[in-house]
């Protein structure tokens, strides 16, 4: 009896495994007229979305607009892929998924000749940003994606100082070097800069440390998100930033600061306790006097009369009073003249890719390339793609400022009418649109301001792809790095523990990662 059951069960199991394995590939729609279109968006489009209908008429096609929830992008998309459903055109979320799609044969190879012939404007647009980009959309010598450039990321994270506190403690210029910054931090802690009679202020917290102070020693150990490692170039080779000897010096200083109470003891939990990553509750609540928490537009004060300023600015003014001020300084310069705040980096590996089913359908690919070209280079079409129609979805002021009407303001609301980022391909647009008359007045001013305040020295990771053994080692190494750094800063482990960490790093795959990183680096250098 028992044996029979075991037999039946194993049959059932085998059967279910087979069923699971044999999803038939259906691919995108076969007919030329319907395009399976997937872009990042904050919500689904309505079936009869006006912007969608407009583009359908304009280009003589039908769109099947996909919507994939962004927070579950990889999970949901891989289910669809496994079921044989592949969009005709879609963006890559990360360098690792880009590599995965290629390995799984989901996306079609492209060639420069074909792009130059079918989409010359698009090629021009990419080249205007940086022709280097093509290299990063190429894997093993084969081009797979149309690169997308992150223009705002050419600026680094802003160094934000409480300049009213600086005045209160008798410093009349914004600190430029690490020594000056240190002096200011000590005064912030000890001289009651907010004048409330209590010793309740600190110099800085985690973002100031990780996005800025480490940079004064030449490297940043981890990226903005707080998990991934940073890679730097040293003597023409890629190195893992967090094991460089300079970091030991940085940790020595930070440990001293921690012992002297300069660092907010809550830095372990982070100065961003909730909400958008660029919030710094510790800063807007008047607990710390220095932070490096966000991009210029996250912390921007009002730029024009209509402008209300960033929510960081508004929160700060509401909580600290109208007289409280902050100013943006430069990344502090360290003992060896090095400096740098975190910078996201403009080039990413991947971009806009095309489902493999298009390989047999060059006409359809041509149609799609044409649509992308037109929307990214024709200003009027581009405006429709982001904001809908004038008079219906937005009004235009004399200076060109666009005022979205009630109900067409948030990302989700705009997505409903097919606008937002659905047809605005990853923000692909001519580079000059950011700063010339095509830009919104406020945005134009913000970029001007960014040029002034956040264009000194940025440190970005030089490794733009996930190397082959990355998934194998990174999780462990990331955790070890974070723990080690915190243990040394808080004095739980002595400074010399750093050498032990370097040894551990080597043993746990660090050397292998470095080898693979440099193999990749040699292909793009």
């Amino acid at each position: 009896m028992k044996k029979t059951i075991a037999f039946v069960l194993s049959l059932v199991m085998a059967g279910s495994l087979m069923l699971g394995g044999c999803g038939k590939t259906t691919g995108g729609s076969a007919d030329n007229g319907t395009i399976d279109w997937l872009m990042f968006s904050n919500g689904p489009a309505d079936e009869d979305a006006p912007v969608k209908q407009y583009f359908e008429e304009k280009f003589g096609v039908k769109f099947n607009l996909w919507y994939i929830e962004r927070s579950k992008w990889d999970d949901l998309l891989s289910v669809r892929f496994a079921a044989g459903e592949i969009p005709d055109v879609f963006p890559t979320m990360s360098s690792s998924s880009f590599r995965k799609y290629i390995e799984q044969g989901l996306i079609m190879p492209l060639s420069m000749e074909m792009l130059e012939e079918d989409a010359p404007k698009l090629v021009q647009l990419v080249n205007d940003y940086d022709p280097e980009q093509w290299k990063y959309s190429t894997i093993d010598g084969q081009l797979y994606a149309i690169p997308t450039y992150n223009y705002a990321n050419k600026y680094h994270i802003a160094s934000v100082w409480r300049d009213d506190w600086l005045k209160n403690v008798g410093i009349d210029k914004i600190p430029e070097t690490l020594d000056e910054a240190e002096e200011a931090f000590y005064k912030f802690r000890n001289e009651d800069p907010d004048g409330n009679g209590e010793k309740d202020t600190y110099g800085l917290s985690d973002k100031g440390i990780y996005n800025s102070i480490f940079g004064a020693f030449g490297y940043l150990p981890r990226d903005m998100g707080g998990t991934a490692a940073m890679w730097a170039e040293k003597d023409g080779k890629l190195v893992y930033s967090a094991v460089q000897p300079e970091m030991k010096e940085a940790l020595t200083l930070l440990n001293k600061w921690y012992n002297d109470g300069i660092i907010d003891p809550e830095f372990l939990a982070g100065e961003n306790t909730s909400g958008h990553w660029s919030n710094s509750q510790a800063f807007v609540n008047g607990r710390i006097g220095y932070t490096a928490n966000g991009m210029f537009y996250h912390i921007a004060p009002p730029m024009t009369e209509d402008d209300t300023g960033s929510s960081f600015y508004r929160d700060f003014k509401k909580l600290q009073g109208e007289n409280a001020t902050y100013a943006v300084g430069r990344p502090p310069i360290g003992p060896d003249g090095k400096s740098g705040n975190f910078k996201g980096g403009t080039i990413s590996s991947g971009g806009i890719v095309f489902g493999n089913q298009l390989a047999d359908n060059p006409e359809k690919l041509k149609t799609i390339l044409n649509i992308i070209s037109e929307i990214s280079t024709d200003y009027d079409l581009n405006l429709v793609s982001t904001n809908g129609f004038e008079g219906e979805h937005y009004d235009k002021k004399e200076d060109g400022t666009i005022i979205a009407k009630e109900g067409f303001q948030t990302g989700a609301e705009l997505s409903k009418i097919g606008a937002g980022s659905i047809f605005n391909m990853n923000g692909l647009r001519p580079v000059q649109w950011y700063t010339d008359e095509h830009a919104q007045p406020v945005s134009r001013e913000q970029y001007k301001w960014a040029e002034e305040v956040t264009n000194y020295s940025g440190i970005d990771s030089k490794l733009l792809v996930e190397v082959e053994s990355g998934p194998k080692y990174n999780t462990v190494l990331d955790k070890m790095r974070e723990t080690t750094y915190i243990q040394i800063i808080t004095g739980e482990k002595p400074i010399d523990y750093f050498d032990e960490w370097v040894e551990e790093w080597k043993k746990n795959g660090g050397e292998q990662l470095e080898k693979e990183a440099n193999e990749w680096y040699n292909t793009v250098k």
């Binding site: 039946v8 689904p44 979205a404 990302g411 605005n424 945005s443």
Partner: protein, 294 residues
């Protein structure tokens, strides 16, 4: 009969009462905190510390949540989904559990093993997706109900409860001329109310909170369940698009404030919390007392 209380008893009871009342209030703190956050102005909500009294009272957060055009259809979908799931899955699970609880069921071990097998080995996400798609249930509300009708674990719990009911009761009923269906409906079910109420609550809460299957199978916004819509409200604004130059006045991307998050939590959890008190009365012990003598 009234038992006389000594002074000591009284003091003990009073102190006990105070401590327990205090504990009760403590459990309410997180809710109070959320409610007060949801009613505060965004600026005061980003202040440090516990918020128990709303500051700068405003209902903008709720307005924002309810402004979403699909919120009411979302509520309706979730309620329909929950109610139907509870009724249908209890119907299916109790029938199955009853059969499996009978020792004289032919090949009982085989059937039980067959069912238990599914608890440990599942096809996984992709086969489920293919199944739903090939059944033609894509974008159909039934796709959220049918696949999860039988929760093996819950079914086994009901079966085990059925097995604790003495067979003698049934025998008595058989002698009185009752058939299987009659016994099931008139004896087993009423006697099993505590476990049925418990499982009903589990199913209801699970279905109320479910959202991933909706993301997977549902395409039409008017068929979305509440949780998906609320999740979107929270994410909207807190995620940025690469290079997405915001071409609107006010310009700067407005991160979803804490108040809106708090309001969505209240909106999504309040209704299901209201269900608890009504179910509580079934959690009474001793229904079996006196049903069998000798």
């Amino acid at each position: 009969m009234k038992i006389k209380m000594t002074l000591g008893d009284r003091i003990f009871n009073t102190i006990n009462g105070i401590i327990l009342a205090f504990l009760c209030i403590l459990t309410l703190f997180p809710f109070l905190h959320l409610i007060s956050m949801s009613l505060s102005s965004p600026e005061s909500a980003s202040k440090f510390g516990l918020h128990l009294i709303p500051e700068g009272l405003n209902v903008d957060a709720y307005r924002k949540v309810f402004e979403n055009g699909y919120i009411f259809s979302g509520y309706a979908n979730t309620i329909i989904n929950t109610v139907l799931s509870v009724i249908l899955s209890l119907a299916v699970m109790t029938l199955m559990a009853y059969a499996l609880s009978k020792k004289h069921l032919v090949h009982r071990t085989f059937f039980t093993g067959f069912v238990v097998f599914t608890m440990f080995f599942q096809g996984g996400l992709i086969p489920s997706y293919l199944l739903i798609r090939n059944l033609g249930l894509m974008d159909n509300r039934l796709a959220l109900i049918l696949p999860v009708l039988v929760n093996t674990f819950n079914m086994l719990i009901i079966r085990n409860y059925f097995m604790t009911i003495p067979a003698d009761i049934e025998e008595a009923a058989v002698i009185d001329g009752a058939n299987d269906l009659y016994i099931f409906a008139r004896i087993m079910l009423p006697l099993s109310m505590p476990i049925i109420a418990t499982v009903a609550l589990w199913v209801a809460v699970e279905r109320w909170n479910a959202w991933f299957d909706c993301l997977l199978y549902i395409r039409t916004p008017s068929k979305y369940v509440l949780q998906v819509l609320l999740q979107r409200i929270v994410i909207d604004g807190s995620s940025e698009f690469m290079n997405f130059e915001v071409r609107t006045a006010g310009t700067n991307s407005e991160p979803t404030t804490e108040t809106i998050k708090a309001a969505t939590i209240i909106v999504s959890s309040l209704p299901i919390m209201c269900v608890y008190p009504f179910i509580q009365k079934y959690f009474v012990k001793g229904v079996m007392v006196g049903s069998l003598k000798g």
